[in-house]
Symmetry: D2
Subunit: 240 residues, 4 copies
């Protein structure tokens, strides 16, 4: 399977703490553990030509992962349209953490995607609320991140097609942390954790969820629809 | 309740057949039967300044109905943003027939919203599939339109929050004809029938559905959320 | 509107603390604040003949509220069937707190309805996750109960048709606290809070939610369906 | 994967036409094409001891398929309970055609599961309405059965978690023909076609759907939840 990990890659250049945690960048860390699954994994970043997301890269991608935060506005509308169309055509998309405010996620959701947040080393506990879902395979009833940025409700998204995780935060909030959506022939998974100053993507359960999500979002051969003006299949009794 | 009926109002100027069926325009016909419910109903059309949808008009609207077809592209992006924001803030929105391709519907859905279609006097039969829904109050198990334009699946929308009607067409197709969505604090109802060359909006059951939908989409006093950076409610044990 | 508040009414007889909080019983407290809405409210309890739920009582009920805990097994199967059928026929049903394990709720859900629990004076905070829903009209972004029994995920229910509240608990858990379901022509609302040793039903926001829920679950005139063997509506070309 | 095909196997004994179409029984026909997928497929029928569904058979089954019609009432409650519990524990269940009225399906749904029907050689056309779903992999935008029994709305089921197919019938009806549900850790798929007097299970697309559904309903390693009384994870400030 072809997997592309996209990262804004700006915190890595600005904040030594982030570089310390992710010496190869957040994209490098994610790509690394996804390669363990035998996928063909490449990375792409904001400052590359076309943000690294050329027509060809996207055409060949089965799943795209998206991490962005500081520079959502710098993402070119043309590339957003291109990614959007590929999702509708069947490419899986996994939107991570602060990607909730990315142009592509907002475009797919149709809502404001706003939320509450706080950087205060909250303990986060992710509870599984849909044990039948392939994305939670191999997990326990919950798992814990010792410190994370808090995201709190209300999270301004459409009601998820499937709600997979709900987070508990030490400071008093809850959050719909794992949510799936179908858009056209494509499947979308939003997964909350992953603030850049915490080693979240080195966490074993986080890696398991993302691996499961890559398998789940990948398309399996969707029908090709004809749209537009069509002839009747059955005879119509003409009425005046 | 303040209800605004928006219509592109172009077919009415170009096609005498449409004017014959709807001498006051499609908006006039819809406004007329909604007034029977005791609502304060006004109309707005594309060629008015700001398409008749000023900040004030929208701020006071509880529910907006939308009919468009020929001139989706002429709707100003600023107005689309304005309507979008009002839906997220709680205004109800009812999108009618060819409005499936309007900018506002596509923006709220996040998908292509394409479909199959045919103008061949198909008989259409709308089957109630959610009898618990207030939108079907007073209907029978199905109702019929002798002649309508056909819209067929696949209809490229997100899975509806609630699927209320499925249409059967004489020529061999089916369609998800009544579908609800929540976006932010607002409720959205898409209702399929209403091609301009048929007297669909004079049909008793169609009027009943639209009346019910106006009542259902209206907001009832949603919470005001705080978004952004917040203090913890509970004490957090600081971790290094 | 005719509203029936059903209560097992056993804790009230066994535990003076409960009687102190609810001198008229939990049913009496709930009936009292629902009468403020102008409804015609009656009560029914387990130890009455037919548990107070005769054919006539149910036939006339628009909405039934259900509180049970100690004696789920004593509820007669005939009465469970009767309530079940009335829900499918359009009566609203509000299941409160430990009613999650009642026969009627399990029958409507089709799952085990199990959960984690703890009586330890946890603070509970109910977050609104669907601000467009009539059940949250007039609430703020969350409200708090100083002390309640904890219910924690995984809650073994079908994915709610609409998820309205998520609870945060001081001891580290989350819970889907307000959930709606449609069954036949009837609407069902499960609402978590309400342990008998806390004054939960005297809490202003709790009362508001239950009042809203009564209005929301009431039926509005659903279609009467014909089931069974039917003649074709359209002509069928006979095939050998 | 271990797959068990359960069939009532009564029409096969009573109606020579059925035996002609399915010389090995409906269960034999289904088992045969599922073996092409490399699964370990066994069959079980009503008249076997414990209906062929012993504790061990179910414990080892990843997916169970269910075809019944004439003798729903003869299925023992103990076996229904056993199958129900295995679904909640993660076994996939595929309910076929007249299985809509089986005890196990009604128990999982919580509704009456009634519908309209007609045996009149209607042409049936199954339209794909969720092209992102693995169950439709490899299909076209619709497929057709020249002759089938008609099932028509209203179909008294809960709103499906995912609606995959909608059927068009020549005689004027529509039907939600492919619907998924999650119950506990288990996944359920209802698939409409398959009247015993038509060669439906020999149809290539029908076989493809059932093969896809077997893969989709199989569990992938769900979490083991603890239910009941639990200690707090976080410290609780005791309140009087």
């Amino acid at each position: 399977m072809n997997v592309v990990v996209w990262n804004e890659n700006r915190h890595e250049k600005l904040n030594p703490k982030v570089t310390e945690i992710y010496p190869e960048g957040i994209h490098g860390a994610i790509a690394s553990f996804l390669r363990e699954e035998g996928h063909d994994v490449t990375t792409a970043t904001l400052d590359q030509p076309e943000h690294g997301l050329t027509e060809q890269v996207l055409a060949e991608a089965d799943v795209l992962l998206w991490w962005g935060h500081l520079a959502h506005d710098e993402v070119d509308e043309t590339i957003v349209e291109r990614v959007h169309q590929r999702v509708l055509d069947g490419m899986g998309l996994i939107v991570l953490h602060s990607g909730h405010f990315s142009k592509i996620f907002k475009k797919l959701m149709g809502t404001g995607c706003d939320l509450k947040w706080r950087e205060a080393n909250d303990r986060e506990r992710l509870w599984v609320v849909d044990p039948s879902h392939p994305i939670v395979a191999g997990l326990d009833t919950y798992f814990e991140l010792e410190k994370e940025e808090m995201y709190g409700e209300h999270f301004d998204i459409p009601a998820p097609d499937e709600l997979v995780f709900i987070s508990w935060f030490e400071g008093g909030e809850v959050f719909r942390s794992g949510a799936t959506y179908r858009r056209g022939k494509g499947k979308v998974f939003y997964f909350r954790p992953g603030h850049e100053t915490y080693p979240t993507y080195h966490h074993e359960q986080i890696q398991k969820v993302i691996k499961n999500a890559v398998a789940w979002t990948a398309s399996l051969g969707a029908p090709t629809h004809q749209y537009g003006n069509v002839e009747p299949i059955e005879e119509i009794s003409v009425k005046e």
